[in-house]
């Protein structure tokens, strides 16, 4: 009986181990493809972000392949899920580089995961492009790490300037999500710029993602009589925050960042969201032909209006493909060099240039909630 158990355990291993190695053999046989790895959270509590980004990436890959690929080769994307965990993101990156032998990596949305991936990409000299990690530290890891989005200091600056100059507001209360480095960072940079512009932060309150009751924070905020509330969180909580703010009789506008970008925001927040402003990567109302073409194709493929994250995934892939086309060869060092000199690439999310710190220099748009939809309000350029 004892021996039988041991045999069973051994057999279990015999089944599992080849399973882990197996598919990689198959993946290596496809030589006429340029393989690009993608790491994203397609499951877990942040699945929406990973899925949206991947849809953008996929659309871009299809488009590139339809127009002849790169240097005669087609692109193939290998997506690995990280469940929203840094550890899994790091292992997935190692796997992509050493098992799947990818030429470049796209990922991650969240900065904490990008920060776990970047040292591995850097060490193996594989170019990595983050579509929407806004933490400045990500690209500081090394010269192989790029991003196509603006960084938190800029986004904080955008909303602060918009509040101070366009809305002519002096007193702002902040309600940030402490569980979220993105939210904490944005609140910090907003405060810096807003104070510089002569504004006053009357109260800095916080909540943590997953909470449903924000009345105590909002009651405290109400007492300080701000002219606007800056809520740099994700749409999942912002809808509820807006509702509770309105029911407590707070009528001032709410301001936010790109984490708001989801139809769910309007659904959950309902009428309470009206008149709120947030900064984003692009506006679906942008009438430029290439933006409209992207939105059309996306709608055809996924029956939905692309979110900012989908647009970022699309642009990250396109910027990478553009660099591959310009590169001397498909060696990773040549792709890196080509990426570093990207200038005025016309993406869906604006004109993208990569600066010395490998960050994208590009404008941000401010959207306003009007009659249950996001409408374009203004564009704020760097500097």
């Amino acid at each position: 009986m004892n021996m039988r158990l041991v045999t069973r355990v051994t057999l279990g291993f015999a089944v599992v181990v080849p399973l882990a190695v197996g598919p990689t053999v198959e993946a290596q046989s496809a030589d006429d493809f340029i393989k690009i790895g993608e790491v994203g959270s397609t499951t877990g509590s942040e699945a929406t972000f990973g899925v949206a980004t991947h849809q953008g990436v996929d659309l871009a890959i299809k488009e590139i392949n339809a127009t002849g690929g790169i240097q005669g080769k087609k692109l193939k994307v290998i997506l690995l899920d990280d469940q929203g965990k840094p550890e899994e993101a790091a292992t997935a990156t190692t796997r992509l580089i050493t098992q799947d032998k990818v030429t470049a990596i796209i990922g991650e949305v969240a900065s904490s995961r990008s920060l776990a991936m970047a040292p591995i990409a850097q060490q193996n000299k594989i170019p990595m492009i983050s579509p929407s990690s806004t933490n400045p530290k990500v690209t500081e890891i090394g010269d192989y790490i790029f991003r196509v989005c603006f960084i938190d200091p800029f986004q904080g600056f955008v909303m602060a300037r918009f509040a101070a100059e366009n809305l002519k507001i002096k007193r702002v209360a902040i309600l940030r999500d402490v569980k979220n480095d993105y939210s904490v960072g944005l609140a910090k940079y907003f405060t810096e710029t807003f104070k510089k512009l002569g504004g006053d932060i009357v109260l800095d309150q916080s909540y943590s993602a997953g909470d449903i009751d924000f009345k105590s924070q909002l009651t405290a905020i109400r007492a300080t009589k701000p002219e606007a509330i800056f809520v740099p969180g994700y749409y999942t909580e912002v809808g509820l925050i807006a509702r509770q703010a309105r029911s407590l009789g707070i009528k001032v506008p709410m301001l936010g960042g790109d984490g708001w970008d989801s139809p769910k925001l309007l659904q959950i927040g309902g009428k309470a969201m009206e008149g709120a402003y947030f900064s984003n990567h692009y506006s679906a109302e942008d009438k430029s032909p290439h933006v409209q073409a992207f939105i059309d194709r996306y709608r055809k493929a996924y029956k939905d209006t692309p979110s900012g994250l989908a647009a970022m995934g699309f642009d990250a892939t396109m910027v990478l493909a553009d660099a591959m086309k310009r590169a001397k060869s498909l060696a990773t060092s040549d792709i890196r060099a080509a990426l570093a000199v990207t200038k005025d690439y016309q993406g869906v999310t604006g004109r993208i240039s990569i600066d010395q710190q490998r960050n994208a220099v590009k404008p941000a748009v401010v959207l306003k909630v009007v009659n249950g939809s996001f409408s374009y309000e203004s564009t704020i350029r760097p500097g």
Binding site: S112, K179, D181
Partner: protein, 360 residues
């Protein structure tokens, strides 16, 4: 659960110091071997597999140390990730502070000790901090019946996370990054050997029998003069210590720490390793830790085919079914050595009969 094993009481049962010469030799050799083959492993193995091997080691430490609490003592802790977090943060802060300290660097350069000698210092401090936290959490909840421990440890994990999130010195919500990469094969596996050795010695000492008494019948144990609270707290603190060590190794492997990493799901992963391996079987925990770490990677492949996460569904289902049909897990409370033929067993363990006992 099976009856308490009849453990022949030997005079040489003092913790750590009483093992036979043969055993000490074997353990020492294994410890040394980890360092000797370390460079070979690092050079010769594909980095992806190397990463998996390292995570296997870290998970073994976590599972074996949790087994001390959940398996041998019969308490139910589901906050192991919390202690891991304490150890990880303390170790990372220590090595980063020392690495940035010119006096320390000068000392390293002049004395000729290897540069990554800073890791064991960090690991030890991390382990001690985690043990301290374990003592603080264990004291109030272990006085009471076991159920409370479950929820208090769960809550403790939450408190730790909230504290880390609010401490700017350790990066707050964005966490610590740029932690040096120091967890090589040698350090990880020597820690594994040390953990298994200590837990093994603990369990097979008179302290260990106290723990078994607590597990089997607390009231009867109390009546026999066993200070059950003290025994539980001691086991709990020791489990936390090794969780802290595992955390430190983890930090110096991943190079980034965020409070979100140490959530309830991680604790749960460790619990399922212990349960699958068999509560009360050290080698069972080792095997289950390896199995689940490899399985996680294997399922990743399946996941890319289906693009749905089914891992946690499978894990939780396995846990329920195990409890209903085979609560003893793979090994029950037996060790892998019990499966070997008796003659080989005697040769291997020297004192096999000392741990033998009544089989189910």
């Amino acid at each position: 659960m099976e009856a308490v094993r009849t453990q022949p009481h030997t005079t040489k049962s003092r913790f750590l110091f009483s093992t036979s010469t043969f055993q000490t030799l074997v353990w020492g050799l294994v410890l040394l071997a980890a360092f000797v083959i370390s460079p070979w492993i690092q050079q010769g193995i594909n980095p992806y597999w190397f990463t998996i091997i390292i995570y296997c080691g870290i998970n073994i430490i976590l599972a074996v140390s949790l087994n001390l609490v959940n398996g041998f003592t019969g308490q139910f802790s589901i906050g192991h990730a919390g202690f891991m977090a304490v150890g990880a943060y303390v170790a990372a802060v220590v090595t980063m502070a020392l690495g940035a300290n010119p006096a320390w660097n000068e000392f390293v350069a002049s004395s000729g000790i290897p540069a990554n000698a800073v890791l064991p210092i960090g690991l030890c401090l991390g382990g001690v901090a985690a043990a301290g936290a374990g003592y603080m959490v264990g004291m109030p909840s272990l006085r009471l019946r076991g159920d409370y421990l479950a929820i208090v440890t769960l809550g403790f994990g939450e408190i730790i996370r909230v504290v880390m999130m609010n401490t700017e010195a350790v990066g707050g919500a964005s966490g610590l990054n740029n932690i040096p990469f120091l967890s090589d094969f040698g350090w990880v596996y020597s820690s594994v050997v040390l953990t298994v050795f200590c837990v093994w010695r603990m369990v097979h000492s008179s302290h260990g029998r106290t723990l078994l008494a607590v597990r089997e019948d607390e009231i009867a144990g109390e009546a026999m003069g066993v200070n059950t609270t003290q025994a539980k707290v001691r086991a709990f603190a020791m489990g936390a210590f090794f969780a802290g060590i595992a955390g430190g190794l983890y930090a110096h492997q991943l190079q980034i720490l965020t409070p979100q990493t140490f959530d309830f799901n991680r604790s749960f992963e460790i619990v399922i390793m212990v349960v699958l391996g068999g509560m009360g079987s050290i080698s069972g925990s080792v095997v289950a830790a390896i199995l689940l770490t490899v399985l996680r990677e294997a399922l990743r492949v399946i996941q890319t085919w289906y693009e749905i996460d089914i891992r946690m569904v499978i894990y939780s289902l396995v846990l329920i079914i195990l409890m209903l049909t085979r609560p003893n897990g793979l090994f029950g409370s037996r060790e892998i050595i019990d499966f070997f033929p008796a003659s080989l067993r005697r040769k291997l363990a020297g004192r096999a009969e000392a741990r033998g006992g009544v089989k189910q």
